[in-house]
Assembly symmetry: C2
């Protein structure tokens, strides 16, 4: 028979072996636990939404995957004619809040950990894929939202990455109102503002001289002075003073000051955050504080967590004003970069705990009974059900990451004992059958 | 501005409010914990696969969703030309095992909990949707697989549904070889076998007389006698005797006997399983033991967990013979049916534990400090950050399912105390500030 090549689609190719999947799941669980620790509640939304919902905020059409039936079906299927896969978790959130507004408690604090799909050019080196996980939190309120919410978000991020133990990181904050006022100060016409911001946003990818030249081409007369303000590294205090001296219009500088002060109160240490005027965030969408997060020892990973404040989440769907603030961790990309940088630690605990080796099929009842006792005591246990030599069963245990093997055959059962083998230390002892559970648990605690 | 209607696509509409999502996640976590308890390890596969991978086993094309770009992109995208969404987790498993064969430890025991997509006609009443979760376990080996694996699968299912506490259930088993031999015994020509099995499979939906008539039309001379054998309810022992008396050819009856005996050894009580000769399973795919599971008090829910033994998982992708056995729980459907039947209990623990009420913005530092102390002690804690009356903050706490409120204003802080309110019992007491964590934990333990 002609074989089909077992291969993946480019960009839909982040598939892990079980031990890698366990590492990934450990990160997912850690993120989820931290989100819950701060009072965020879960939602999930369908993978496909109506096209007009997904495109309601404009843009992105080129990146959206639409659905159709592979072969014509008998029945009407609006998913196949009107449906497309979500490209982020924010548009579905807006649709969700507008749809369920009456049933939700506000401020609505939700987390959402799901896959999204984007038809971008995949670049494994940059951790960019066409299918990837996003982990989002947002705080949405009706009519008004306290600036304290903008300060709380970095404290959640701090909690997540501190527990991840992936080295030093820095949450860099800025404010769109400050950027807007800066451009005004430097006499950038409104029509050029978007292009100028895009140019400033390339500082991680291009030399400053190139950016200054680009700004000049966009008609910015004092490009060098603008870059001095935006790209000079200063302490939070110094940045606020520099901005003060510029006497910018609007409330941006005051907001930035308030948010920075509140972030400290929320318990984020000075070293883990700072104002960075070069943080731009592409989307028009943001109206106040914006965030990016970078790894100090590994800046080439880019921003591992980004977001910001927006004044109106769902204006395309509802008349209710819904200001909010949120961030997103691109977990597939982060996992890929951490793995590449060797910053992923083995999960402290694999779910494969005890393997009951089967030496002699006549004793199946006893093997199963031991497994039952272990499982009831909370130990994840597998019984090796195929016929194989002891050596091969132990090789399987090692390969799968089991920490303990339980070994007994005719001799052991005659003596009423069982051998408990510590697979990492390569030590083994006999225990009375009645002490099996205790012996395995003690061995697991010691591994 | 013209508003876009915030609506979902038909069949892509199983979206929950946060409290429902928590119930759903509790089920997911329970399933996952049970799978791990039996030594299954996780994998996830990409949502989209190559079309030729998905269709390699034939059939199903009408139900498959293909991908395309909503607007033409600049770059080549094979996902948009060659990709489609998976309709189950078995075909991706076959592709995965064929692709990673050298890197996997066999017997390969994997669990996979992900969404799948099928362009069927959605029927909310039957719990049939176009997007839904499947929770699969499979045991795959190279060349041969012990019949004990076929007996172990029901013991995992038993463990899952017992812990779910959704009332009595029954794992009904049959064997494809027995069905094949039965049809031979009743002189059903091979060309009619598939149609006859499909007719038998409709016993949950149609009266027996109708099925007998259909069998007659398919040319089964002794339709009534065949239905007597297949549909008569008997004990496991009686069924095995009845089959024995028919002197069927092949090893099916012997396998059924061995599997039934081993299932008992694996600890599944007699009441929770039984042989049912009317279990057919649509797919050609299965070659030995097959399973369905029904709720005793709620048979109209249909089979909540089905699967079986197959001789060759991945013959379309590899020359290696990969026999296996597996089952699948359709969790979205199960959740929908349990909710309808009122069999879903509230999760014993909501992640919303303590709400720190903010009575006076001057004390923000103290509120944040209390929250930090609670979180460090493992209590999920939210600080109410908007300005609102105490009454409204407590209403928010109730609505979101918080179990404890921490209340302190000028008076309390002057006295060095804090009020801890049990939100379910509606009782409250003052505690010295230094005893806050203990008081909250004790209150949570009592709720």
């Amino acid at each position: 028979m002609e074989k089909v090549r077992p291969a993946l689609l480019r960009g839909f190719d982040q598939e892990y072996l079980p031990h890698e999947q366990l590492q990934f799941n450990a990160l997912l669980d850690l993120v989820r636990a931290n989100f819950e620790r701060y009072g965020f509640l879960p939602i999930e939304t369908p993978s496909a939404e109506r096209k007009e919902v997904l495109t309601s905020k404009g843009g992105a059409e080129k990146e959206i995957y639409a659905l159709s039936r592979l072969a014509a079906g008998d029945d009407e299927d609006e998913a196949a004619t009107k449906g497309a896969l979500r490209f982020d978790l924010t548009v579905p959130l807006a649709r969700y809040v507008a749809m369920h507004e009456r049933e939700l408690a506000f401020p609505f604090r939700r987390y959402q950990i799901q896959r999204v799909w984007r038809g971008e050019t995949p670049q494994a080196r940059k951790g960019r894929f066409r299918e990837f996980y996003q982990c989002d939190i947002d705080i949405i309120n009706r009519e008004r939202l306290s600036i304290l919410a903008e300060a709380e978000i970095p404290s959640v991020i701090y909690s997540v990455f501190r527990e991840m133990a992936i080295g030093e990181f820095r949450i860099r904050i800025n404010n769109r109102k400050v950027l807007k006022a800066l451009l005004h100060k430097f006499e950038v016409p409104d029509a050029r503002a978007a292009a100028v911001l895009r140019a400033l946003d390339r500082i991680d990818k291009e030399p400053r001289a190139k950016i200054e030249a680009d700004l000049g081409r966009e008609g910015v007369a004092r490009a060098h002075a603008l870059c001095e303000v935006v790209f000079t590294q200063r302490s939070t205090q110094e940045t606020l003073e520099a901005l003060q001296n510029l006497s910018l219009e609007g409330s941006g500088v005051q907001e930035l000051r308030e948010v920075a002060e509140a972030i400290r109160k929320f318990g984020v240490p000075e070293a883990a955050f700072g104002i960075d005027l070069s943080v731009v965030r592409g989307l028009d969408y943001y109206t106040g504080t914006i965030y990016e997060t970078s790894l100090t020892q590994y800046p080439e990973a880019g921003s591992i967590c980004s977001g910001g404040r927006y004044d109106d989440l769902a204006s395309t769907f509802t008349k209710t004003s819904l200001p909010g603030v949120g961030i997103s961790i691109g977990l597939t990309r982060l996992f890929s970069k951490l793995r590449e940088a060797g910053l992923l630690r083995a999960p402290s605990r694999t779910p494969a705990e005890a393997l009951v080796v089967t030496m002699d099929p006549r004793y199946l009842d006893r093997y199963l009974e031991m497994a039952r006792a272990l499982r009831e005591a909370g130990v994840n246990t597998e019984v090796y059900l195929e016929q194989a030599k002891l050596k091969n069963q132990l090789a399987y245990a090692d390969r799968k990451g089991f920490r303990v093997a339980v070994i007994a055959g005719e001799n052991e059962f005659a003596k009423g004992v069982v051998q408990v083998k510590n697979l990492s230390a390569k030590t083994a002892s006999d225990y009375p059958l009645g002490r099996l559970v205790t012996a395995v648990k003690e061995t697991l605690d010691g591994t």
